[in-house]
């Protein structure tokens, strides 16, 4: 399976990069890489996940709502269903959250260090 590189710049100016397999949504790939994007319906219908495609090309894994994307600036993509067909640079005016995978083990590690 082909993998493309996604570089994502968020609302606070920070940039992160991760791989996204072709055919997998950027939202799902970000999640695997540890970033939770601003996604609500996850189904292309609300537009809350809209971002600007600065470079690259995307396709959609399933349909998105035409009325919603028409209301967005040109080069807008809905990350919940967009999948890359080449390397992409994407900009959002919102900030993602870091997925806290194992807060308990992290706390234990910190306690160990303190000893």
């Amino acid at each position: 399976m082909k993998h493309w590189r996604i570089s994502l710049t968020g609302g606070e100016g920070e940039t992160v990069a991760f791989d996204c397999p072709e055919g997998v949504s950027i939202h799902a790939a970000a999640r695997t890489a540890g970033f939770r994007l601003r996604v609500a319906c996850g189904s292309g219908g609300c537009g809350i996940c809209a971002a600007e495609l600065v470079n690259g090309q995307v396709d959609y894994v399933s349909p998105i709502s035409a009325a919603k994307i028409e209301g967005c600036p040109a080069r807008a993509v809905f990350l919940c269903r967009a999948t890359p067909t080449e390397d992409c640079c994407i900009k959002t005016d919102w900030q993602w959250a870091v997925v806290d995978k194992a807060p308990l083990s992290r706390r234990m590690a910190i306690n160990q260090q303190g000893k």
Binding site: A40, G42, S43, C46, A66, A67, K68
Partner: protein, 307 residues
């Protein structure tokens, strides 16, 4: 003027097959008819032809709401009132909508359309009309929902639409939100015996916030939240919670086109007789509690996410 219930929601969906699958398997509706690009579905506890119409479309969102009136003459009366209010009125012939008699389509100030009809084909309860066994066959993990309960629409000027529904179509306002200057910005309206059938909140004109299905009890609702998570159906941040408004137990999720659904139970009963029961009033600063009683706050996305 006697509207007797919110009868159905007609939704636009971007994948008809997936939508039908969702409303059949996740919600528990039965398919009652199909025409080109359309699927009609109904809950087990309603005898009318449909409580949901799915329209294959390039966009998600609301097509229109269907409201049932008690007498055929009510259609002309509603049409006259809407025309007098300067609203667009359109007549639909019997059969334009499968299983339904002639109807009058009114475009509300909010740009949402409501379709008033009197006759619906009678398909009976899912359990049958003669010596029924109360337990449904083919129950898929959960007890079925009972019926389509209510819907929340959003628009830029809720007061206008709330007033038309209340003052012209005789809905009763059971709960509302009022700004310090007295402007109505939130309204829960009913024409039946539960506290809301249509609700209006601020947002972009024509937006659909959610349609809600009635679940019998809290235990069912908890089980349904488990299944939503287990099946990977997109949900809001909150799992099971409770609204201050109506006091209902609730959970939200999305259909495969991004239209929001709700399972809810426990709305109180009240008279839908217009003006006969005083509305509860919420202040803007108490909306956190009004919306999510347990959490006491509203995630930003709750009101901004609409299809």
């Amino acid at each position: 003027m006697a509207i007797i219930r919110l009868s159905y929601a007609s939704l636009n969906v971007t994948d008809l097959g997936k939508a039908e699958q969702h409303y059949a398997k996740v919600v528990g509706l039965r398919t009652t008819g199909k025409t080109e690009g359309r699927v009609y579905m109904q809950a087990p506890d309603s005898q009318d032809h449909h409580c949901l119409i799915l329209n294959e479309s390039a966009s998600a969102g609301l097509c229109h709401f269907g409201l049932k009136v008690s007498a055929p003459e009510d259609l002309q009366e509603a049409a006259d009132k809407a025309a007098a209010a300067g609203l667009k009125v359109e007549w639909l012939k019997a059969g334009d909508i499968l299983g339904q008699g002639e109807s009058v389509m009114i475009t509300l100030p909010s740009t949402h359309r409501i379709n008033l009809f009197h006759h619906s084909e009678d398909i009976g309860y899912e359990t049958g009309m003669r010596d029924p066994d109360p337990i449904l066959k083919n129950v898929d993990g959960v007890n079925p929902v009972s019926h389509l309960d209510h819907a929340l629409m959003v628009c830029s000027n809720p007061a206008e639409t709330i007033r038309f529904l209340r003052d012209e179509l005789d809905f009763n306002l059971s709960e509302c939100g009022t700004a310090p200057d007295g402007t109505l910005f939130l309204g829960f309206l009913s024409a039946g015996n539960t506290m809301h059938q249509l609700a209006v909140a601020p947002g972009p004109d024509g937006g659909l916030h959610h349609i809600a299905f009635y679940v019998y009890d809290r235990a069912d609702l908890i089980r349904r939240v488990d299944l939503l998570k287990h099946r990977g159906v997109p949900t809001l941040e909150y799992g099971l919670t409770r609204h201050g408004v109506a006091g209902v137990t609730t959970t939200y999720f999305f259909d495969p086109s991004g239209n929001r659904n709700e399972f809810q139970c426990g709305a109180y009963e009240t008279s839908g007789a217009s003006g006969r029961v005083r509305p509860i009033n919420w202040k803007p600063e108490d909306l956190g509690q009004a919306t999510f009683y347990y959490e006491g706050s509203v995630p930003e996305q709750f009101y901004t996410v609409v299809s």
